[in-house]
Structure formats: C-alpha cells, structure tokens
C-alpha cells in the first residue's frame, strides 16, 4: 500500500481554520499517510503552539519551522523535501479534506496503477462551515487546463513525477500549483479525474477562493505559467488574462492550409434582421467581407434548380466558389459528404447556409486547434439573431442539448466554461472545422440521419476514435437556427441514435449539466 505525504505550507492561518484542517487529516479513513508541514515563520505564536502539540501527539506529523519567511513556494518545497511517501497530496493550511479523501485516491491507484497525477471535484466552505460552490469537474482536458486551473484541489502527484519535473518554482507565487500541475500533466503517463468532492476550499478574507481580486499577482503568475507551458509543448500562442482571472490562449497558426468551407443549401430565402434574404448568399458575403484568412474555397452544395437566386448567382461566379449540384431528395448528411468529396482543402469547415460570420479571424481560430494531432473537430460560439447564445457546444447529460442555449452571450457559464476554449463532447454541425483525413476516417456524416442528429452521431464517432473535440468562444458566428428547414425531429432518427450511442447519454465527460 502506498504512503501518502500530505504537503502543507503554513503561514499565519486563523487558528480555528488550522484546527479544522488538522481534524480533517486526523479523521482520514485511510491511515497510510504522513503529514509534512512547513511553517513559514508565522507571526502568531499560537500557530507554533498548535503545530508543536500536533507533532507531539501524532507521530505521522512532521513539522518544520523555517528560520526565515520565504513565501509559499519555498515553504511548500521545504515540506516536499521532508516527504518520504510515494504520493504527494497538497493541502492548504485553512482547507479541509473529506474523511474519505485518501481512501478514494487509493481506490483510483488500485484501478489505475500507471496514474501519475489525479485531481478530484471540490467545493468551498465558509467561516460558518457551510459548503457551497460545488465544482463538478471534467475528465482530463488539457485545452481547458490552459484556460484555467480547473484541477486545483485535491491534487495528488506521484513523487517520481515531481522528482522529474521539479517542485514548485520561484516566480509563480499565487499560481505555483497551476505551474506544477501543468508541468506534471505534461510528463504524466496517466491523469485521472476523481468525480467526487474530496476537498473543501476555505473562504476567508483575502483568500483566492473568495474573489479573483484578492491576489491580483496570481494573474501574472498564471499567465507566465501557461506561456511557458505552451512553449514546452510546442504551441505558439498569445496568452492574456481576462477580468475573471481566466486565460485567453490565442493560438498562432504555424501553417496556413487550404480550407474548404462546405455549405449545403436549397437556396432558401428568409427574413434576417427584418429583411428578406437569400441565406446562402448572406453567408457567402459575410465570409468574403469579414474573413481575414485567405487560403480558402467555398463548396456550395445546391439542390438542383432551374435558376439560382438572383443574389446568389453573381457570387457563385467568384473563383473562390465551387458550385456542386445535388439532385436527390433532402439528405443533409449526404449533401455534406458530397461537398467534402468535391472539395480540395486539407481542412473542411461545414457551415450551414443560415449563418453569418462575426469574428474576422474565425477560420484562423478554428483551424489553429487542429494543429494538435488528436483534435478532430472544432466549433465556435453560435449566436441567435437576437444576440443570445444558440450553442456553446453539446452536452449529453441527461440527453443531447445545446449548452448555453438562450443565455446572454456575455454569460460566463459554470466556472467560466463559456470564457475559455475547452474539450467538449460534441458541437453543432452548423459550423465545424474538421481535418479532411479525419472526416474520411470516421466515415463522414451518416446518411442514417438525413435530417437530425447527424452532428451528434459524427461527434460520437470522433470521440470513439479517441480524438478530442474543442469548442472555442474566440470564434463567433450568427446561426439563424432552423430558418432554412423544418426543425421537427424525426423519432426514427432519435431511436437510431440510441441504438448506436445510448450508453453515452446520461453522463458527460466534459460538462456537468
């Protein structure tokens, strides 16, 4: 059975909070632990008294009283240096573990002997002991981790990983744990999420848990940690912190592959912004007028008609547009597949005709994630005509639905999930960037679903092949949803979806709702 070393730097905590922290460790149901505490010259003499008493009464506790104050990084490293266990669990001096915390970690290690780093769900605890702000986290999601330290508490590292990547680093004060998690996950053989709350993060005056303004220097440290992480893993990016404390990681393209924007259409006209508009013409004009990316073609898959819409006809004469006629009964999937077959780009962007580009760099943003070999699908924030969110990706819990649907475009989502690029279980087919080879690898859009759920099915196929799907808020398009066809869902398509993927519903790896 492995020995856990609990690592706690201490600096002047409220005594009652320190005592609660001590009680939570002493109450662990798993008994194979040692507690390495480094007191960083706490001015309050009561802290020393409490720690001395604890060390006297509990042989598993090792307290080091540092001779001079060195800050959280040095204090944490002092505690780590004293550790003899095979695993290091980080615990702050005023926080609490649940009684089963280490037992649950032990279970994970029994099932996953190769696990080098694991993190659990967490919540917050106020001064009265009330629990709130339950954070049900996603499974390991490296893109999300670049935008926020969602792993945070409880973090448990295999000691050999810390030996490999080094302990906490000076210069990252306030985000030293974020920096360590980034470095550890880069080196880890396996990262496991424990979907259970094992940690209560204490809110006291001035703590980071209470407010992002409490320790503003943490923003700079976090930015630096992510910048260095990106450099190490070969991502060229500009990193900025936003006002909420999350990081906007804007990737810079290494290559400019040819992009084929495939637009299936019947040539319908509808009212947009109160004006009778040819949908496809509006979409194409917005691409022409607003896109900053230049290396693209548009493949317009149009139902066979005697005469094109008068606003569309001049646009298809442009050398960037390839008009493909479709003469069969309506089958959205087959129209997409036909467009992809007739295209010549290395990257496909499937785009509904009832869309309009908002972000000038939408193509660059979408395809930048595809430079990661294990990413096969990227989607933007799609916005309704009235400015509310149409889709911020899909969740499959309890059943498939658009995240953020109907919410204000300024909404942050749970724990900032609308403010950062992140892994997701599916995205709308209204706009999706897919590498050409991967589109063919997963069999394209399925004609089993000619009307609905073809994007859901495609997303599941992508996940089944072990690829990641990314949703990003940094590319935005309007989606005048279902203006171009009857939005009715066919029962038989739903049943076919359940026949293939029923087991994927009722739970979601990346979103808690």
């Amino acid at each position: 059975m492995p020995l856990f070393s609990i690592i706690t730097p201490v600096y002047n905590p409220p005594i009652w909070a320190l005592q609660a922290c001590i009680d939570s460790v002493l109450n662990q149901t798993c008994t194979d632990w040692e507690w390495c505490i480094a007191d960083d010259c706490s001015p309050d003499p009561e802290v020393r008294k409490v720690l001395e008493k604890l060390a006297k009464n509990e042989s598993r506790v090792r307290v080091i009283f540092r001779e001079k104050n060195g800050g959280i990084v040095e204090a944490s490293n002092t505690a780590i240096a004293a550790a003899t266990g095979q695993f290091l669990a980080l615990l702050d001096h005023d926080d609490s573990l649940t009684p089963d915390a280490l037992s649950e970690v032990l279970k994970v290690l029994e099932d996953n002997p190769e696990c080098d780093y694991m993190y659990s769900d967490e919540d917050k605890i106020d001064e009265q002991g009330n629990l709130f702000d339950e954070f049900r986290k996603p499974d390991f999601a490296p893109e999300r981790l670049r935008g926020q330290n969602y792993c945070c508490h409880l973090s448990v590292f295999r000691k050999t990983i810390i030996d490999t990547v080094g302990p906490f680093r000076a210069g990252f004060d306030g985000s030293q744990d974020y920096d360590l998690i980034l470095r550890a996950t880069e080196a880890a053989r396996l990262v496991v999420h424990i979907p259970k709350i094992l940690y209560h993060w204490r809110i006291v005056e001035g703590s980071t848990a209470g407010s992002v303004d409490a320790k503003p220097y943490t923003f700079d440290s976090a930015k630096k940690a992510v910048e260095e992480h990106c450099a190490r893993v070969g991502i060229s990016a500009e990193v900025q912190s936003n006002k909420y404390g999350y990081l906007e990681v804007r990737r810079l393209l290494k290559n400019t592959p040819k992009v084929s924007i495939v637009i299936p259409t019947r040539g319908d006209r509808k009212r947009i912004w109160g004006i009778d508009t040819c949908l496809a013409a509006n979409a194409i004009e917005s691409i022409f007028d607003r896109s900053t990316y230049r290396n693209y073609e548009i493949v317009l898959v149009h139902d066979t008609v005697d005469k094109l819409d008068t606003t569309l006809a001049p646009l298809v004469l442009d050398k960037r547009v390839n008009l493909v006629w479709y003469s069969k009964p309506f089958d959205f999937s087959e129209k997409c597949n036909l467009g992809v077959i007739e295209s010549t780009g290395d990257v496909i962007i499937l785009l509904n005709d009832d869309t309009e580009v908002i972000s000038p760099d939408w193509i660059e943003t979408l395809i930048s994630f595809l430079e990661d070999e294990d990413v096969a699908m990227v989607g933007p924030m799609t916005i309704l005509e009235d400015g509310r969110i149409q889709s911020a990706g899909h969740s499959n819990n309890p059943t498939v639905h658009n995240l953020g649907g109907g919410e204000l475009v300024t909404s942050t989502g749970q724990f900032g999930e609308r403010l950062i690029s992140r892994e997701i279980s599916g995205i709308t087919g209204a706009c999706a960037a897919i590498p050409r080879d991967k589109y063919f690898e997963v069999g394209g859009f399925s004609s089993t679903y000619p009307h609905s759920f073809n994007d859901v099915d495609f997303s599941f196929k992508v996940l089944e092949f072990g690829y990641r799907i990314i949703w990003t808020p940094f590319a935005k398009i309007f989606h005048f949803e279902s203006l171009s066809r009857n939005p009715t869902v066919n029962d038989y398509e739903y049943h076919r979806l359940m026949d293939r993927w029923g087991h994927r519903f009722g739970t979601d790896k990346y979103t808690s709702s």
């Binding site: 087959e334 997963v442 069999g443 359940m498 029923g502 087991h503």
Partner: protein
C-alpha cells in the same frame, strides 16, 4: 468524362457510407453489449435481493407458518387424484 466523374463521386459517397455503416455496426454492437451488461447486473442485483429475502427471519417464519397449509394442499390433491 462527365459521366465518369459522376460515377467516381457516387463511388466515393458509397465508400463513405460503407465506412460509416461499419463504424455504426461496431457502435451498435458496443451498445448491445453495454445493455446486456446492464441487464446482467440488474439480474444479479435482483438475485442478491431475493437471497436476502429468503435468508430473512420474516421469510423463514412465514414459511414455517404456511407449511401445514402446504401439507393440507398436497393431501387434498392426492385425494382428488
């Protein structure tokens, strides 16, 4: 030439369809296995619950109380022949 191009496109579509069909069939098989496993777990759970009931004192007392009645039923069946 146009006819050949059209045939190539149709064949390419058919290849995509066939690939999707194979992936879909594998997914359906996985789904059936999942449902089978779920059903098996449910059956195991029911059997476990049944064993607990059969092992309970209430069940045993009930069995004892009803034993004479079962003997009478057997005798009556024998008489009726």
């Amino acid at each position: 030439m146009e006819a050949e191009n059209s045939q190539i496109t149709e064949l390419a579509l058919a290849v995509l369809d066939a690939r999707d069909y194979a992936i879909g069939a594998a997914a359906e098989l996985g789904e059936l296995r999942y449902r089978h496993e779920q059903a098996r777990q449910e059956i195991d759970s029911l059997i476990h619950q049944l064993n607990i009931i059969h092992g309970s004192r209430t069940w045993k007392v009930g069995e004892l109380v009803l034993k004479p009645l079962r003997i009478v039923q057997k005798v009556l069946r024998l008489i009726k022949g």
